[in-house]
Symmetry: C2
Subunit: 116 residues, 2 copies
Amino acid sequence: MLRDQKKEVQALQDTIYVLGGKWRLPIINSICNGNHRFREIERSIPGITTRMLSRELKLMEINDILRRTLDPDAPGQVRYESTEYCFSFGPVIAEMIRWGTAHRKRVISQRKKEGI
Amino acid sequence: MLRDQKKEVQALQDTIYVLGGKWRLPIINSICNGNHRFREIERSIPGITTRMLSRELKLMEINDILRRTLDPDAPGQVRYESTEYCFSFGPVIAEMIRWGTAHRKRVISQRKKEGI
DNA sequence: CGGTATCCTGCTGGATACTG
DNA sequence: CAGTATCCAGCAGGATACCG
């Protein structure tokens, strides 16, 4: 029993480590939602800078979470694509979106109660 | 469609914000797993310091994620308990544990392939 | 379009010691 | 047991400018 708990904590920490930071998950989500060009991804994520996007994309490419290719149809154009591995985050992301959505509703209705 | 995407990104970022940092999720997980005393929680999370635990507990209490009470059965003893709200993280945590576990297996089997 | 290069700030979190 | 207090480093991440 205690063994399992330690493993759970470690698994959690592993996930936090890999998905760590403000931008990783939003980037994955953006690409999985059909954004493939650099500027396109950038525009889809409010607040991100080119610097952070560039950096994170590079790291995630190294970690086999996504793939950078040159678009054969458009000369000199770059495409970012999710790998199969990337899709394994699907359920995690889905649950986080669900939670965030519910949370926002809760906060808003709380403000109403307090008359703000 | 594009509207939904923005909302998704925002929901994701909200969740990341609330669960942010290295320790929040492991702490929630620990308490939900039956640890209620300060030292108990501390021991269950490898690497955490008293300082970080203390700080995070305080913040999470403010945010209604957990509750601090004095144990009526044991004088001067403190109990940390999860609130109902805290349980809403359940699915998120479960998915993250699942992912982390699978990831670790993957990394290990990859190392074997590479003969490391 | 698809990025780099610099420069800089602040916060996260580690180490350690101490308290009632 | 249940924390506080201090001090400090590193790096995540912001702002801005520039490049082929």
